[in-house]
Amino acid sequence: MNPFVGATERELAGAVADWAKGLAGRIPAAEKEGALPRDVIADLGRLGVLGMTIPEAAGGLGASGVGFALVLEELSAAWPSLAVGVAVNSGIVAGSIVRHATVEQRQRWLPKLMDGSGLGAFALTEPTSGSDAASLRTAARREGGGWRIDGQKQFITNARYAPFAIVLARVGELDPKRTAAGITAFVVPLDAPGVSVGRPERKLGLRASDTSAIVMDGATIGADAVLGEVGKGFAIAMSGLDGGRIGIAAQSVGIARRALELARAYAKERRQFGRPIADFEGLRFSIAKAESDLAASRLLALRAAWLRDRGRPFTREAAMAKLYASEMAQRATHAAVQILGGNGYMRDYAVERYARDGRATTIYEGTSEIQRIVIARSLLAA
Protein backbone atom coordinates (compact mmCIF):
# COMPACT_ATOMS: atom_id res chain seq x y z
CA MET A 1 0.00 0.00 0.00
CA ASN A 2 1.31 3.43 -0.85
CA PRO A 3 0.14 6.93 -0.13
CA PHE A 4 -0.48 9.01 -3.28
CA VAL A 5 -2.08 5.96 -4.95
CA GLY A 6 -5.80 5.49 -5.51
CA ALA A 7 -7.71 2.27 -6.11
CA THR A 8 -8.06 2.90 -9.84
CA GLU A 9 -4.36 3.52 -10.29
CA ARG A 10 -3.58 0.34 -8.40
CA GLU A 11 -6.01 -1.56 -10.58
CA LEU A 12 -4.55 -0.26 -13.83
CA ALA A 13 -1.05 -1.18 -12.72
CA GLY A 14 -2.27 -4.61 -11.63
CA ALA A 15 -3.80 -5.22 -15.06
CA VAL A 16 -0.54 -4.31 -16.77
CA ALA A 17 1.38 -6.54 -14.35
CA ASP A 18 -0.92 -9.47 -15.21
CA TRP A 19 -0.43 -8.89 -18.92
CA ALA A 20 3.33 -8.52 -18.52
CA LYS A 21 3.63 -11.96 -16.91
CA GLY A 22 3.19 -13.38 -20.39
CA LEU A 23 6.28 -11.59 -21.71
CA ALA A 24 8.97 -13.67 -20.04
CA GLY A 25 9.30 -16.16 -22.86
CA ARG A 26 9.83 -13.41 -25.42
CA ILE A 27 12.63 -11.58 -23.66
CA PRO A 28 15.80 -13.65 -24.31
CA ALA A 29 15.35 -13.79 -28.09
CA ALA A 30 14.38 -10.13 -28.37
CA GLU A 31 17.33 -9.03 -26.25
CA LYS A 32 19.66 -11.09 -28.40
CA GLU A 33 18.16 -9.76 -31.60
CA GLY A 34 18.17 -6.20 -30.27
CA ALA A 35 14.60 -5.41 -31.20
CA LEU A 36 11.21 -5.19 -29.54
CA PRO A 37 8.66 -7.53 -31.13
CA ARG A 38 6.18 -5.42 -33.08
CA ASP A 39 3.26 -7.54 -31.89
CA VAL A 40 4.10 -6.66 -28.28
CA ILE A 41 3.99 -2.97 -29.16
CA ALA A 42 0.69 -3.58 -30.95
CA ASP A 43 -0.64 -5.33 -27.87
CA LEU A 44 0.32 -2.35 -25.70
CA GLY A 45 -1.72 -0.22 -28.09
CA ARG A 46 -4.70 -2.54 -27.86
CA LEU A 47 -4.46 -2.64 -24.06
CA GLY A 48 -4.57 1.14 -23.94
CA VAL A 49 -1.19 1.45 -22.23
CA LEU A 50 0.31 3.61 -24.96
CA GLY A 51 -2.54 6.10 -24.75
CA MET A 52 -2.83 6.17 -20.99
CA THR A 53 -1.37 9.66 -20.55
CA ILE A 54 -3.38 11.16 -23.42
CA PRO A 55 -6.64 12.90 -22.42
CA GLU A 56 -9.91 11.09 -22.98
CA ALA A 57 -11.09 13.85 -25.33
CA ALA A 58 -8.15 13.00 -27.60
CA GLY A 59 -8.94 9.30 -27.54
CA GLY A 60 -6.64 8.28 -24.70
CA LEU A 61 -7.24 7.07 -21.19
CA GLY A 62 -6.51 10.31 -19.37
CA ALA A 63 -4.91 8.44 -16.49
CA SER A 64 -2.98 10.26 -13.79
CA GLY A 65 0.78 10.64 -13.63
CA VAL A 66 0.71 8.45 -10.53
CA GLY A 67 -1.03 5.72 -12.52
CA PHE A 68 1.49 6.04 -15.34
CA ALA A 69 4.40 5.83 -12.88
CA LEU A 70 2.97 2.62 -11.41
CA VAL A 71 2.47 1.15 -14.88
CA LEU A 72 6.05 2.00 -15.81
CA GLU A 73 7.23 0.31 -12.62
CA GLU A 74 5.36 -2.84 -13.63
CA LEU A 75 6.61 -2.79 -17.21
CA SER A 76 10.17 -2.20 -16.01
CA ALA A 77 9.94 -5.03 -13.53
CA ALA A 78 8.82 -7.30 -16.37
CA TRP A 79 11.00 -6.03 -19.18
CA PRO A 80 13.10 -2.86 -18.86
CA SER A 81 13.79 -2.57 -22.62
CA LEU A 82 10.07 -2.43 -23.31
CA ALA A 83 9.41 0.01 -20.48
CA VAL A 84 11.90 2.57 -21.74
CA GLY A 85 10.20 2.60 -25.14
CA VAL A 86 6.81 3.17 -23.53
CA ALA A 87 8.20 5.80 -21.15
CA VAL A 88 9.47 7.87 -24.07
CA ASN A 89 6.41 7.35 -26.28
CA SER A 90 3.73 7.96 -23.69
CA GLY A 91 5.75 10.24 -21.42
CA ILE A 92 7.79 12.98 -23.03
CA VAL A 93 6.56 12.59 -26.63
CA ALA A 94 2.83 12.31 -25.95
CA GLY A 95 3.09 14.85 -23.13
CA SER A 96 4.80 17.43 -25.35
CA ILE A 97 2.17 17.01 -28.06
CA VAL A 98 -0.69 17.23 -25.57
CA ARG A 99 0.69 20.33 -23.89
CA HIS A 100 2.08 22.27 -26.86
CA ALA A 101 0.46 21.11 -30.10
CA THR A 102 -2.31 22.79 -32.05
CA VAL A 103 -5.64 21.00 -32.42
CA GLU A 104 -4.67 19.91 -35.93
CA GLN A 105 -1.29 18.60 -34.80
CA ARG A 106 -2.90 16.64 -31.99
CA GLN A 107 -5.43 15.07 -34.29
CA ARG A 108 -2.69 14.11 -36.70
CA TRP A 109 -0.03 12.80 -34.33
CA LEU A 110 -1.60 11.52 -31.13
CA PRO A 111 -3.34 8.52 -32.75
CA LYS A 112 0.07 7.33 -33.99
CA LEU A 113 1.36 7.25 -30.42
CA MET A 114 -1.61 5.17 -29.24
CA ASP A 115 -2.43 2.69 -31.96
CA GLY A 116 0.50 0.35 -31.40
CA SER A 117 1.92 0.88 -34.90
CA GLY A 118 5.11 2.32 -33.42
CA LEU A 119 6.67 4.27 -30.57
CA GLY A 120 7.41 7.98 -30.76
CA ALA A 121 10.89 9.46 -30.34
CA PHE A 122 12.28 12.59 -28.73
CA ALA A 123 15.44 13.92 -30.37
CA LEU A 124 17.42 16.37 -28.27
CA THR A 125 20.90 14.85 -27.79
CA GLU A 126 23.60 15.33 -30.42
CA PRO A 127 27.15 14.01 -30.76
CA THR A 128 28.50 17.25 -29.29
CA SER A 129 25.66 18.16 -26.92
CA GLY A 130 24.58 15.90 -24.10
CA SER A 131 24.23 17.47 -20.67
CA ASP A 132 24.87 20.85 -22.33
CA ALA A 133 21.72 20.35 -24.36
CA ALA A 134 21.29 24.03 -25.21
CA SER A 135 24.48 24.03 -27.29
CA LEU A 136 22.81 21.85 -29.93
CA ARG A 137 23.80 22.48 -33.56
CA THR A 138 20.97 21.03 -35.60
CA ALA A 139 19.75 23.95 -37.70
CA ALA A 140 16.32 24.75 -39.08
CA ARG A 141 15.56 27.40 -41.63
CA ARG A 142 12.49 28.39 -43.59
CA GLU A 143 12.48 27.14 -47.14
CA GLY A 144 9.79 26.90 -49.78
CA GLY A 145 6.88 27.57 -47.46
CA GLY A 146 8.08 24.96 -44.95
CA TRP A 147 11.25 24.14 -43.06
CA ARG A 148 14.58 22.59 -43.93
CA ILE A 149 16.47 20.85 -41.11
CA ASP A 150 20.12 19.81 -41.13
CA GLY A 151 21.90 18.05 -38.33
CA GLN A 152 22.40 14.81 -36.49
CA LYS A 153 20.67 13.54 -33.37
CA GLN A 154 22.30 10.83 -31.30
CA PHE A 155 21.17 8.08 -28.89
CA ILE A 156 17.53 8.44 -29.86
CA THR A 157 15.29 5.88 -28.16
CA ASN A 158 12.67 4.30 -30.48
CA ALA A 159 14.17 5.91 -33.63
CA ARG A 160 13.63 2.70 -35.58
CA TYR A 161 10.00 2.30 -34.45
CA ALA A 162 9.00 5.95 -34.57
CA PRO A 163 6.32 7.35 -36.84
CA PHE A 164 7.77 10.74 -35.97
CA ALA A 165 10.27 12.38 -33.68
CA ILE A 166 10.08 15.62 -31.79
CA VAL A 167 13.32 17.24 -32.97
CA LEU A 168 14.93 20.18 -31.24
CA ALA A 169 16.67 22.42 -33.75
CA ARG A 170 18.00 25.95 -33.76
CA VAL A 171 16.40 28.70 -35.81
CA GLY A 172 18.94 31.48 -36.41
CA GLU A 173 22.56 31.72 -35.26
CA LEU A 174 23.90 30.37 -31.96
CA ASP A 175 24.31 33.19 -29.45
CA PRO A 176 27.02 31.98 -27.02
CA LYS A 177 25.53 34.10 -24.23
CA ARG A 178 21.99 32.82 -24.71
CA THR A 179 22.44 29.32 -26.05
CA ALA A 180 18.81 28.31 -25.55
CA ALA A 181 17.60 31.15 -27.75
CA GLY A 182 16.25 30.09 -31.11
CA ILE A 183 15.83 26.45 -30.16
CA THR A 184 12.56 25.25 -31.65
CA ALA A 185 10.68 21.96 -31.38
CA PHE A 186 9.57 20.35 -34.65
CA VAL A 187 7.44 17.31 -35.33
CA VAL A 188 9.50 15.46 -37.93
CA PRO A 189 7.95 12.43 -39.64
CA LEU A 190 10.63 9.77 -40.00
CA ASP A 191 9.55 9.22 -43.60
CA ALA A 192 10.07 12.89 -44.55
CA PRO A 193 12.51 13.50 -47.40
CA GLY A 194 16.08 13.86 -46.13
CA VAL A 195 15.52 11.98 -42.85
CA SER A 196 17.33 8.72 -42.16
CA VAL A 197 17.96 6.52 -39.16
CA GLY A 198 21.51 5.42 -38.32
CA ARG A 199 22.55 1.93 -37.36
CA PRO A 200 21.35 0.76 -33.94
CA GLU A 201 23.80 1.48 -31.14
CA ARG A 202 25.29 -1.54 -29.39
CA LYS A 203 24.63 -1.02 -25.71
CA LEU A 204 25.61 -2.41 -22.30
CA GLY A 205 21.97 -3.05 -21.50
CA LEU A 206 18.43 -2.33 -22.69
CA ARG A 207 19.48 -4.15 -25.83
CA ALA A 208 16.00 -4.81 -27.18
CA SER A 209 15.24 -1.10 -26.91
CA ASP A 210 16.22 0.76 -30.05
CA THR A 211 18.80 3.52 -29.70
CA SER A 212 19.85 5.03 -33.01
CA ALA A 213 20.91 8.27 -34.61
CA ILE A 214 18.47 10.33 -36.62
CA VAL A 215 20.22 12.10 -39.48
CA MET A 216 18.61 15.06 -41.17
CA ASP A 217 20.30 16.07 -44.38
CA GLY A 218 18.19 18.76 -45.96
CA ALA A 219 15.13 17.26 -44.30
CA THR A 220 12.03 18.91 -45.68
CA ILE A 221 8.99 19.35 -43.48
CA GLY A 222 5.86 21.46 -43.62
CA ALA A 223 5.21 24.86 -42.10
CA ASP A 224 2.83 23.13 -39.70
CA ALA A 225 5.64 21.10 -38.12
CA VAL A 226 6.56 23.63 -35.45
CA LEU A 227 5.51 22.50 -31.99
CA GLY A 228 4.63 25.51 -29.84
CA GLU A 229 6.35 28.72 -30.85
CA VAL A 230 9.51 29.29 -32.83
CA GLY A 231 12.33 29.89 -30.36
CA LYS A 232 10.50 28.37 -27.38
CA GLY A 233 11.62 24.79 -27.91
CA PHE A 234 14.13 24.60 -25.11
CA ALA A 235 11.46 25.26 -22.50
CA ILE A 236 9.32 22.52 -24.09
CA ALA A 237 12.26 20.12 -23.83
CA MET A 238 13.03 21.02 -20.24
CA SER A 239 9.45 20.71 -19.03
CA GLY A 240 9.21 17.41 -20.90
CA LEU A 241 12.32 16.16 -19.17
CA ASP A 242 10.87 17.05 -15.76
CA GLY A 243 8.07 14.58 -16.40
CA GLY A 244 10.41 12.11 -18.03
CA ARG A 245 12.46 12.00 -14.86
CA ILE A 246 9.50 10.67 -12.92
CA GLY A 247 9.35 7.94 -15.54
CA ILE A 248 13.02 7.08 -15.09
CA ALA A 249 12.56 7.00 -11.33
CA ALA A 250 9.65 4.59 -11.79
CA GLN A 251 11.73 2.48 -14.16
CA SER A 252 14.56 2.35 -11.62
CA VAL A 253 12.08 1.19 -8.99
CA GLY A 254 10.73 -1.54 -11.26
CA ILE A 255 14.18 -2.78 -12.24
CA ALA A 256 15.42 -2.85 -8.65
CA ARG A 257 12.24 -4.48 -7.40
CA ARG A 258 12.36 -7.40 -9.79
CA ALA A 259 16.11 -7.93 -9.26
CA LEU A 260 15.53 -8.06 -5.50
CA GLU A 261 12.52 -10.37 -5.88
CA LEU A 262 14.67 -12.76 -7.89
CA ALA A 263 17.46 -12.52 -5.33
CA ARG A 264 15.10 -13.20 -2.41
CA ALA A 265 13.60 -16.23 -4.10
CA TYR A 266 17.09 -17.54 -4.85
CA ALA A 267 18.33 -16.91 -1.32
CA LYS A 268 15.52 -19.03 0.12
CA GLU A 269 16.25 -21.95 -2.22
CA ARG A 270 20.02 -21.90 -2.44
CA ARG A 271 21.71 -23.91 0.31
CA GLN A 272 25.30 -23.56 1.46
CA PHE A 273 26.86 -24.75 4.71
CA GLY A 274 23.77 -26.86 5.28
CA ARG A 275 21.14 -24.15 5.21
CA PRO A 276 19.47 -21.67 2.90
CA ILE A 277 21.76 -18.72 2.31
CA ALA A 278 18.80 -16.51 3.33
CA ASP A 279 19.64 -17.58 6.91
CA PHE A 280 22.92 -15.70 6.86
CA GLU A 281 22.77 -12.31 8.47
CA GLY A 282 25.11 -10.60 6.02
CA LEU A 283 22.70 -11.42 3.24
CA ARG A 284 19.62 -10.61 5.30
CA PHE A 285 21.00 -7.16 6.05
CA SER A 286 21.80 -6.60 2.39
CA ILE A 287 18.21 -7.43 1.46
CA ALA A 288 16.75 -5.32 4.27
CA LYS A 289 18.74 -2.25 3.27
CA ALA A 290 18.04 -2.64 -0.42
CA GLU A 291 14.29 -3.04 0.13
CA SER A 292 14.19 0.02 2.39
CA ASP A 293 15.95 2.13 -0.26
CA LEU A 294 13.57 0.74 -2.85
CA ALA A 295 10.52 1.76 -0.81
CA ALA A 296 11.95 5.26 -0.29
CA SER A 297 12.59 5.60 -4.03
CA ARG A 298 9.05 4.60 -4.89
CA LEU A 299 7.65 7.18 -2.49
CA LEU A 300 9.84 9.90 -4.01
CA ALA A 301 8.67 8.97 -7.51
CA LEU A 302 5.02 8.87 -6.48
CA ARG A 303 5.31 12.16 -4.63
CA ALA A 304 6.65 13.89 -7.74
CA ALA A 305 3.89 12.36 -9.88
CA TRP A 306 1.25 13.30 -7.32
CA LEU A 307 2.41 16.94 -7.27
CA ARG A 308 2.42 17.03 -11.05
CA ASP A 309 -1.13 15.61 -11.18
CA ARG A 310 -2.22 18.51 -8.99
CA GLY A 311 -0.59 21.13 -11.15
CA ARG A 312 1.97 21.95 -8.47
CA PRO A 313 5.67 22.60 -9.16
CA PHE A 314 7.54 19.31 -9.25
CA THR A 315 10.86 19.99 -10.99
CA ARG A 316 12.92 19.58 -7.83
CA GLU A 317 10.93 16.58 -6.61
CA ALA A 318 11.24 14.85 -9.99
CA ALA A 319 15.00 15.44 -10.01
CA MET A 320 15.28 14.11 -6.43
CA ALA A 321 13.25 11.03 -7.32
CA LYS A 322 15.30 10.39 -10.46
CA LEU A 323 18.62 10.90 -8.67
CA TYR A 324 17.78 8.78 -5.65
CA ALA A 325 15.95 5.98 -7.44
CA SER A 326 18.49 5.56 -10.24
CA GLU A 327 21.41 5.45 -7.80
CA MET A 328 19.41 3.02 -5.65
CA ALA A 329 18.88 0.79 -8.69
CA GLN A 330 22.65 0.47 -9.12
CA ARG A 331 23.10 -0.71 -5.54
CA ALA A 332 20.06 -2.96 -5.58
CA THR A 333 20.83 -4.74 -8.84
CA HIS A 334 24.46 -5.24 -7.85
CA ALA A 335 23.37 -6.58 -4.46
CA ALA A 336 21.08 -8.99 -6.31
CA VAL A 337 23.93 -10.21 -8.52
CA GLN A 338 26.06 -10.65 -5.40
CA ILE A 339 23.37 -12.70 -3.66
CA LEU A 340 23.24 -15.06 -6.63
CA GLY A 341 27.03 -15.25 -6.67
CA GLY A 342 28.43 -17.03 -9.71
CA ASN A 343 24.92 -17.73 -10.98
CA GLY A 344 24.17 -14.02 -10.77
CA TYR A 345 26.90 -13.35 -13.29
CA MET A 346 25.46 -15.84 -15.76
CA ARG A 347 22.93 -15.03 -18.45
CA ASP A 348 20.78 -17.99 -17.48
CA TYR A 349 19.64 -15.95 -14.49
CA ALA A 350 17.96 -12.66 -15.33
CA VAL A 351 19.60 -10.56 -12.60
CA GLU A 352 22.67 -9.80 -14.68
CA ARG A 353 20.35 -8.30 -17.30
CA TYR A 354 18.62 -6.15 -14.70
CA ALA A 355 22.03 -4.93 -13.50
CA ARG A 356 23.01 -4.00 -17.08
CA ASP A 357 19.63 -2.51 -17.95
CA GLY A 358 19.51 -0.46 -14.78
CA ARG A 359 22.86 1.14 -15.51
CA ALA A 360 21.34 3.59 -17.98
CA THR A 361 19.03 5.12 -15.40
CA THR A 362 21.69 7.38 -13.85
CA ILE A 363 22.56 8.64 -17.32
CA TYR A 364 19.54 9.33 -19.51
CA GLU A 365 16.97 12.10 -19.01
CA GLY A 366 19.78 14.01 -17.28
CA THR A 367 22.71 12.40 -15.49
CA SER A 368 22.88 12.20 -11.71
CA GLU A 369 25.21 15.20 -11.86
CA ILE A 370 22.62 17.22 -13.77
CA GLN A 371 19.95 16.22 -11.24
CA ARG A 372 22.13 17.56 -8.45
CA ILE A 373 22.52 20.83 -10.36
CA VAL A 374 18.73 21.05 -10.82
CA ILE A 375 18.05 20.30 -7.16
CA ALA A 376 20.71 22.69 -5.87
CA ARG A 377 19.59 25.46 -8.21
CA SER A 378 16.02 25.21 -6.97
CA LEU A 379 17.12 25.12 -3.33
CA LEU A 380 19.62 27.95 -3.54
CA ALA A 381 17.87 30.28 -5.95
CA ALA A 382 17.50 33.94 -4.93
Binding site: T8, E11, L12, A15, V16, D18, W19, R46, L47, G48, V49, M52, L61, A63
Partner: protein
Amino acid sequence: MKILIPLKQVPDSTVRVKVGPDGKSIVTEGITWSISPYDEYAIEMALERKDADASTVVAVVTVGPARSRDALRQALAMGCDEASLVTADATTPLGVARALAKVVEETKPDLVLCGKQASDDDQGFVGPALAELLGWPHVATITKVVPVEGGVELWREVEGGHEVWKAALPALATVHKSEKEPRYPSLPGIMKAKKKDIPERAIGALGVDASGPSWTILSMEPPAARGGGKILKDGDSKQIAEQLATALRDEAKVL
Protein backbone atom coordinates in the same frame (compact mmCIF):
# COMPACT_ATOMS: atom_id res chain seq x y z
CA MET B 1 -27.56 -12.30 -30.48
CA LYS B 2 -27.52 -12.11 -26.72
CA ILE B 3 -25.13 -14.44 -24.94
CA LEU B 4 -25.25 -15.03 -21.19
CA ILE B 5 -22.34 -16.51 -19.29
CA PRO B 6 -22.96 -17.72 -15.75
CA LEU B 7 -19.56 -17.53 -14.10
CA LYS B 8 -18.06 -18.56 -10.80
CA GLN B 9 -15.41 -16.83 -8.75
CA VAL B 10 -12.81 -19.33 -7.56
CA PRO B 11 -9.39 -19.17 -5.87
CA ASP B 12 -6.85 -18.03 -8.47
CA SER B 13 -4.84 -20.84 -10.00
CA THR B 14 -1.65 -19.35 -8.56
CA VAL B 15 -2.95 -19.60 -4.98
CA ARG B 16 -1.33 -22.26 -2.82
CA VAL B 17 -4.41 -23.77 -1.28
CA LYS B 18 -4.22 -24.60 2.43
CA VAL B 19 -6.66 -26.70 4.42
CA GLY B 20 -8.28 -24.74 7.25
CA PRO B 21 -8.17 -25.67 10.95
CA ASP B 22 -11.62 -27.33 10.73
CA GLY B 23 -10.23 -29.86 8.23
CA LYS B 24 -13.28 -29.36 6.03
CA SER B 25 -12.58 -26.16 4.16
CA ILE B 26 -9.74 -24.19 2.67
CA VAL B 27 -8.23 -21.05 4.14
CA THR B 28 -9.76 -18.19 2.17
CA GLU B 29 -8.26 -15.29 4.06
CA GLY B 30 -5.92 -13.20 1.94
CA ILE B 31 -6.21 -15.34 -1.17
CA THR B 32 -6.64 -13.99 -4.68
CA TRP B 33 -9.95 -14.75 -6.38
CA SER B 34 -10.46 -15.04 -10.12
CA ILE B 35 -12.98 -16.04 -12.73
CA SER B 36 -12.88 -19.81 -13.11
CA PRO B 37 -10.65 -20.57 -16.14
CA TYR B 38 -13.32 -22.39 -18.20
CA ASP B 39 -15.69 -19.52 -17.60
CA GLU B 40 -12.96 -17.20 -18.92
CA TYR B 41 -12.87 -19.30 -22.07
CA ALA B 42 -16.64 -18.95 -22.33
CA ILE B 43 -16.30 -15.18 -21.99
CA GLU B 44 -13.57 -15.07 -24.63
CA MET B 45 -15.70 -17.18 -26.97
CA ALA B 46 -18.62 -14.78 -26.53
CA LEU B 47 -16.41 -11.72 -26.98
CA GLU B 48 -15.02 -13.18 -30.21
CA ARG B 49 -18.63 -13.30 -31.46
CA LYS B 50 -18.99 -9.69 -30.41
CA ASP B 51 -15.75 -8.78 -32.24
CA ALA B 52 -17.23 -10.35 -35.39
CA ASP B 53 -20.68 -8.80 -34.94
CA ALA B 54 -20.85 -5.66 -32.86
CA SER B 55 -24.59 -6.07 -32.27
CA THR B 56 -23.86 -9.08 -30.03
CA VAL B 57 -24.66 -8.43 -26.38
CA VAL B 58 -22.59 -10.33 -23.83
CA ALA B 59 -23.91 -10.56 -20.29
CA VAL B 60 -22.46 -12.27 -17.23
CA VAL B 61 -24.13 -13.39 -14.03
CA THR B 62 -22.96 -15.15 -10.93
CA VAL B 63 -24.65 -16.75 -7.96
CA GLY B 64 -22.28 -16.51 -5.05
CA PRO B 65 -20.97 -14.47 -2.12
CA ALA B 66 -20.74 -10.66 -2.31
CA ARG B 67 -17.02 -10.81 -3.17
CA SER B 68 -18.01 -12.33 -6.53
CA ARG B 69 -18.72 -8.78 -7.67
CA ASP B 70 -14.99 -8.45 -8.43
CA ALA B 71 -15.18 -11.34 -10.90
CA LEU B 72 -18.12 -9.66 -12.64
CA ARG B 73 -16.18 -6.40 -12.76
CA GLN B 74 -13.29 -8.28 -14.34
CA ALA B 75 -15.63 -9.71 -16.99
CA LEU B 76 -16.93 -6.21 -17.75
CA ALA B 77 -13.34 -4.99 -18.05
CA MET B 78 -12.66 -7.74 -20.58
CA GLY B 79 -15.48 -6.29 -22.68
CA CYS B 80 -18.76 -7.83 -21.50
CA ASP B 81 -21.73 -5.48 -21.71
CA GLU B 82 -23.81 -6.33 -18.66
CA ALA B 83 -23.36 -8.04 -15.32
CA SER B 84 -25.62 -8.99 -12.46
CA LEU B 85 -25.04 -10.59 -9.11
CA VAL B 86 -27.24 -12.97 -7.16
CA THR B 87 -25.90 -13.15 -3.65
CA ALA B 88 -25.97 -16.50 -1.92
CA ASP B 89 -23.50 -17.49 0.74
CA ALA B 90 -24.33 -21.16 0.81
CA THR B 91 -26.62 -22.94 -1.57
CA THR B 92 -26.91 -26.30 -3.26
CA PRO B 93 -25.71 -26.80 -6.84
CA LEU B 94 -29.30 -27.32 -7.91
CA GLY B 95 -30.25 -24.11 -6.12
CA VAL B 96 -27.60 -22.26 -8.16
CA ALA B 97 -29.00 -23.78 -11.37
CA ARG B 98 -32.55 -22.78 -10.39
CA ALA B 99 -31.47 -19.21 -9.63
CA LEU B 100 -29.69 -19.05 -12.99
CA ALA B 101 -32.77 -20.43 -14.74
CA LYS B 102 -34.75 -17.57 -13.25
CA VAL B 103 -32.18 -15.06 -14.52
CA VAL B 104 -32.32 -16.68 -17.97
CA GLU B 105 -36.12 -16.41 -18.00
CA GLU B 106 -35.88 -12.75 -17.11
CA THR B 107 -33.05 -11.72 -19.43
CA LYS B 108 -33.92 -14.01 -22.38
CA PRO B 109 -30.49 -14.72 -23.87
CA ASP B 110 -30.29 -16.63 -27.16
CA LEU B 111 -27.31 -18.62 -26.03
CA VAL B 112 -25.96 -19.54 -22.61
CA LEU B 113 -22.29 -20.46 -22.40
CA CYS B 114 -21.05 -22.06 -19.19
CA GLY B 115 -17.51 -23.11 -18.38
CA LYS B 116 -17.53 -26.91 -18.53
CA GLN B 117 -16.71 -27.05 -14.84
CA ALA B 118 -15.54 -24.73 -12.08
CA SER B 119 -11.90 -25.13 -11.17
CA ASP B 120 -12.57 -25.27 -7.42
CA ASP B 121 -14.89 -28.26 -7.03
CA ASP B 122 -14.75 -29.63 -10.60
CA GLN B 123 -18.38 -30.83 -10.41
CA GLY B 124 -19.47 -29.86 -13.90
CA PHE B 125 -23.03 -29.82 -12.63
CA VAL B 126 -24.53 -26.40 -13.16
CA GLY B 127 -24.37 -26.18 -16.98
CA PRO B 128 -26.26 -29.39 -17.78
CA ALA B 129 -28.65 -28.84 -14.84
CA LEU B 130 -29.49 -25.37 -16.10
CA ALA B 131 -30.19 -26.72 -19.61
CA GLU B 132 -32.43 -29.39 -18.07
CA LEU B 133 -34.36 -26.88 -15.97
CA LEU B 134 -34.86 -24.64 -19.03
CA GLY B 135 -35.69 -27.52 -21.31
CA TRP B 136 -33.03 -26.23 -23.73
CA PRO B 137 -30.75 -28.24 -26.00
CA HIS B 138 -27.33 -28.75 -24.44
CA VAL B 139 -23.97 -29.54 -26.02
CA ALA B 140 -21.05 -30.20 -23.70
CA THR B 141 -17.37 -29.18 -23.86
CA ILE B 142 -17.43 -27.10 -27.02
CA THR B 143 -14.43 -25.29 -28.55
CA LYS B 144 -16.17 -23.08 -31.10
CA VAL B 145 -19.53 -21.51 -31.80
CA VAL B 146 -20.55 -20.39 -35.28
CA PRO B 147 -23.87 -18.66 -36.01
CA VAL B 148 -25.67 -20.31 -38.92
CA GLU B 149 -29.09 -20.07 -40.52
CA GLY B 150 -31.64 -21.14 -37.89
CA GLY B 151 -29.27 -21.45 -34.94
CA VAL B 152 -25.65 -22.12 -34.12
CA GLU B 153 -23.03 -24.70 -34.97
CA LEU B 154 -21.28 -26.00 -31.90
CA TRP B 155 -17.90 -27.65 -32.36
CA ARG B 156 -16.49 -30.26 -30.03
CA GLU B 157 -13.03 -31.77 -30.04
CA VAL B 158 -13.12 -35.55 -30.18
CA GLU B 159 -10.38 -38.10 -30.60
CA GLY B 160 -8.68 -37.31 -33.90
CA GLY B 161 -11.07 -34.62 -35.10
CA HIS B 162 -14.19 -32.56 -34.50
CA GLU B 163 -17.87 -33.14 -34.09
CA VAL B 164 -20.09 -30.35 -35.34
CA TRP B 165 -23.55 -30.07 -33.79
CA LYS B 166 -26.29 -27.74 -34.79
CA ALA B 167 -28.72 -26.32 -32.27
CA ALA B 168 -31.77 -24.15 -32.69
CA LEU B 169 -31.75 -21.17 -30.35
CA PRO B 170 -32.11 -20.75 -27.49
CA ALA B 171 -29.46 -23.27 -26.51
CA LEU B 172 -26.86 -23.93 -23.85
CA ALA B 173 -23.30 -25.14 -24.29
CA THR B 174 -20.51 -25.79 -21.86
CA VAL B 175 -17.11 -24.54 -22.98
CA HIS B 176 -13.88 -26.50 -22.96
CA LYS B 177 -11.70 -23.88 -24.62
CA SER B 178 -11.91 -20.81 -26.82
CA GLU B 179 -9.99 -20.41 -30.07
CA LYS B 180 -7.80 -17.69 -28.56
CA GLU B 181 -6.55 -17.38 -25.00
CA PRO B 182 -8.86 -15.20 -22.89
CA ARG B 183 -8.03 -11.55 -23.48
CA TYR B 184 -6.55 -9.28 -20.88
CA PRO B 185 -8.76 -6.40 -19.83
CA SER B 186 -7.69 -3.21 -21.58
CA LEU B 187 -7.08 -0.14 -19.44
CA PRO B 188 -10.03 1.72 -21.04
CA GLY B 189 -12.06 -1.45 -20.41
CA ILE B 190 -11.21 -1.27 -16.71
CA MET B 191 -12.23 2.39 -16.57
CA LYS B 192 -15.52 1.71 -18.36
CA ALA B 193 -16.25 -1.27 -16.14
CA LYS B 194 -15.93 0.90 -13.05
CA LYS B 195 -18.72 3.12 -14.29
CA LYS B 196 -21.14 0.27 -15.01
CA ASP B 197 -23.84 -0.62 -12.55
CA ILE B 198 -23.92 -4.23 -11.36
CA PRO B 199 -27.43 -4.91 -10.02
CA GLU B 200 -27.50 -7.19 -7.00
CA ARG B 201 -30.26 -9.33 -5.55
CA ALA B 202 -30.26 -11.92 -2.80
CA ILE B 203 -31.15 -15.41 -3.97
CA GLY B 204 -34.18 -15.29 -1.68
CA ALA B 205 -35.62 -12.42 -3.73
CA LEU B 206 -35.76 -14.59 -6.86
CA GLY B 207 -38.46 -16.81 -5.42
CA VAL B 208 -36.71 -20.01 -6.37
CA ASP B 209 -36.31 -23.15 -4.36
CA ALA B 210 -32.68 -23.06 -3.27
CA SER B 211 -32.80 -26.49 -1.68
CA GLY B 212 -31.86 -29.70 -3.41
CA PRO B 213 -29.78 -32.79 -3.04
CA SER B 214 -26.64 -31.78 -1.23
CA TRP B 215 -23.43 -33.22 -0.03
CA THR B 216 -21.26 -32.55 2.97
CA ILE B 217 -17.49 -32.43 3.01
CA LEU B 218 -16.33 -34.81 5.73
CA SER B 219 -12.67 -33.96 5.59
CA MET B 220 -10.02 -32.34 3.43
CA GLU B 221 -6.36 -33.08 3.44
CA PRO B 222 -3.44 -32.01 1.32
CA PRO B 223 -1.87 -34.64 -0.92
CA ALA B 224 0.82 -36.68 0.83
CA ALA B 225 4.27 -35.17 0.54
CA ARG B 226 6.18 -36.64 -2.34
CA GLY B 227 8.99 -38.99 -1.46
CA GLY B 228 12.51 -37.95 -2.39
CA GLY B 229 13.83 -38.74 -5.86
CA LYS B 230 16.31 -41.46 -6.50
CA ILE B 231 19.62 -40.98 -8.29
CA LEU B 232 21.05 -44.00 -10.09
CA LYS B 233 24.80 -43.62 -10.37
CA ASP B 234 26.40 -47.02 -9.86
CA GLY B 235 27.57 -48.80 -12.97
CA ASP B 236 27.98 -47.96 -16.62
CA SER B 237 25.16 -46.52 -18.70
CA LYS B 238 23.83 -49.94 -19.69
CA GLN B 239 23.60 -51.04 -16.05
CA ILE B 240 22.01 -47.75 -15.05
CA ALA B 241 19.46 -48.17 -17.84
CA GLU B 242 18.62 -51.62 -16.53
CA GLN B 243 18.25 -50.33 -12.98
CA LEU B 244 16.02 -47.54 -14.29
CA ALA B 245 13.82 -49.96 -16.20
CA THR B 246 13.54 -52.18 -13.12
CA ALA B 247 12.67 -49.24 -10.89
CA LEU B 248 10.06 -47.94 -13.32
CA ARG B 249 8.49 -51.40 -13.57
CA ASP B 250 8.68 -52.67 -10.00
CA GLU B 251 8.69 -49.52 -7.86
CA ALA B 252 6.89 -46.83 -9.87
CA LYS B 253 4.81 -49.45 -11.70
CA VAL B 254 4.59 -47.30 -14.80
CA LEU B 255 5.99 -49.83 -17.29
